[in-house]
């Protein structure tokens, strides 16, 4: 538990003491603890499977020229629960093709990369399809995020534009029983001409330290 002195020291360190000075110490403490809580919350984990495949090649461009499906760019940065960037992180993703099928024989729509110096990453892919057998209702991308000194994160990225959510992921996220929190459902930015639409999704990752 933080003491008032801790809060004041941190506020001074962060340069926020002047901004916060017209609040009562109690309000400052509450605001700081609230902020700390947000910073410290790691990305929620999600199920691994199915069909993780070992020895995925290092590549960030999973989409090949002429591939059907809406082009997708996934990007973000990796932080720890203190808010520091984690440059040594390896991110591995896999997903179905636009029709909802995984490649079990090869490594299509599977890729791995090491984040850059600013802990940023970008994958180029296509919007994954829905499983044709409806065994899971939502489009998703699987993530395994590993960094030295941090707990390996297994999670999934979902799309706010998925028709399953009917435009309200906050309300309808549980339609996929695997989704425990709407935090993993990310907004989708659509760019380009109507006949050449391109989707962009930002997904920041926060790792727990060991």
């Amino acid at each position: 538990m933080l003491t008032r002195r801790d809060v004041l020291q941190k506020c001074v360190t962060l340069g926020s003491a002047v901004i916060a000075s017209h609040f009562s110490p109690e309000a400052m403490l509450a605001a700081f603890q609230d902020r700390e809580k947000q910073v410290r919350k790691p990305t929620p984990p999600n199920v691994l499977g199915p069909f993780y495949k070992r020895l995925t090649p290092m590549k960030s461009v999973l989409r090949e020229p002429g591939d059907p499906g809406m082009p997708l760019t996934i990007f973000g940065q990796v932080f720890n629960t203190r808010g520091d960037i984690v440059p040594g992180t390896t991110i591995e993703i896999w997903q179905t093709n636009h029709q909802g099928y995984y490649d079990l024989d090869g490594y299509r729509y599977r890729g791995k990369l090491q984040v850059d110096k600013s802990a940023a990453y970008t994958f180029e892919s296509v919007i994954p399809g829905h499983y044709p057998d409806k065994s899971r209702p939502c489009q998703h991308v699987h993530y395994v995020v590993a960094a030295p000194g941090h707990k390996t994160l297994v999670t999934e990225l979902y799309f706010a534009t998925d028709p399953v959510f009917e435009g309200d992921p906050q309300k309808n996220y549980a339609r996929d029983p695997v989704i425990q929190t709407p935090e993993l459902i990310r907004p989708v930015m659509l760019t380009g001409e109507p006949n050449e639409m391109h989707a962009k999704v930002q997904f920041e990752l926060r790792l727990e330290r060991l």
């Binding site: 199920v47 070992r54 057998d133």
Partner: protein, 327 residues
Amino acid sequence: MRLNIAVVMLLCCLPITVLAQSARQEKTIDLPSGVSVEVSSVSPAGNLIAAICSDHVVRVWSAGSGDLVRSLQENSGLPGGLQFSNDGQLLAVSFETVKYEKGMIKVFDVASWKVQTDLTSECMFCAIRFSPDRRRLANAGNFFGDSYVWDLATQKKVATISPPFGGSSALSFSSDGKLIATADGDGFVRIYNANTGTLRGTPTEFLLEPFAVAFSPDGKSVLAGGADKVISVIDPENGKISRTIPKQAGLILSFDISRDGKLTAVVYQSSQSMLDANHIMLWDLDREAVLADFQKSGITITGGAFVGNHYVFAAASGNQLTLWAIP
């Protein structure tokens, strides 16, 4: 004469699978309207079948008469897995008490249906296996968690097994109970000391997620298979794959090995639809030959056991559960 030679040659060239037998229907059980079976376990003697039903009730039927023997409504959470002990005297049922986070296993005495043991942990339980002497129980913490080996007398954890990520979907004790093998989501089969949880061997040949693993009764090999559609035979001494059983079209969902170690019954699932677990093959492991092959659309194979010379399995279709036997 030429025709005879041609016929003989043709017969010799025919794959053994052509001679494989199908399954025969033994008994059909009707469930309440709107209720279906999700997972089942057939007792080793073949006299009982226990099932987790879609209404979250665990039901036990007599396999001979099809009569309902017991409904186990425990209010302990959502049932996720169940398993009879090798002697059929105990039935373990796992429950999810907090979604993905906490679980509980109840061990029932089959004679009285009283709860003999209660195990609780910070882990969602999925697959559960008794040790052959039924003094211990192991559970796989699917998706996120660790797996544990429990001593049933003291109700304490003996060993904790922690794959790097992704949890385990299946596990199996060796016949002497000293080793335990796990099929892990990160694409590995791992073999551990069951008393300490110390890793003993890991074949590196697997690339895709294994879904099933089982020690042979003599303890000399471990069978594993999954998304790669191949059954691999692993030497537990060195952790190396010694041979593989021919690849099939479907993913390997589960299998059981006969008590003499000569046969394995394998449930295959379509790689196009994860809901179609409707294909079962009975393999002669030494000859790598198919003795029985049965596939039926509209059913889901939910569990089975070797009973004498036959493999008895249960398949769900709507609100019916049908028992089949092969060969």
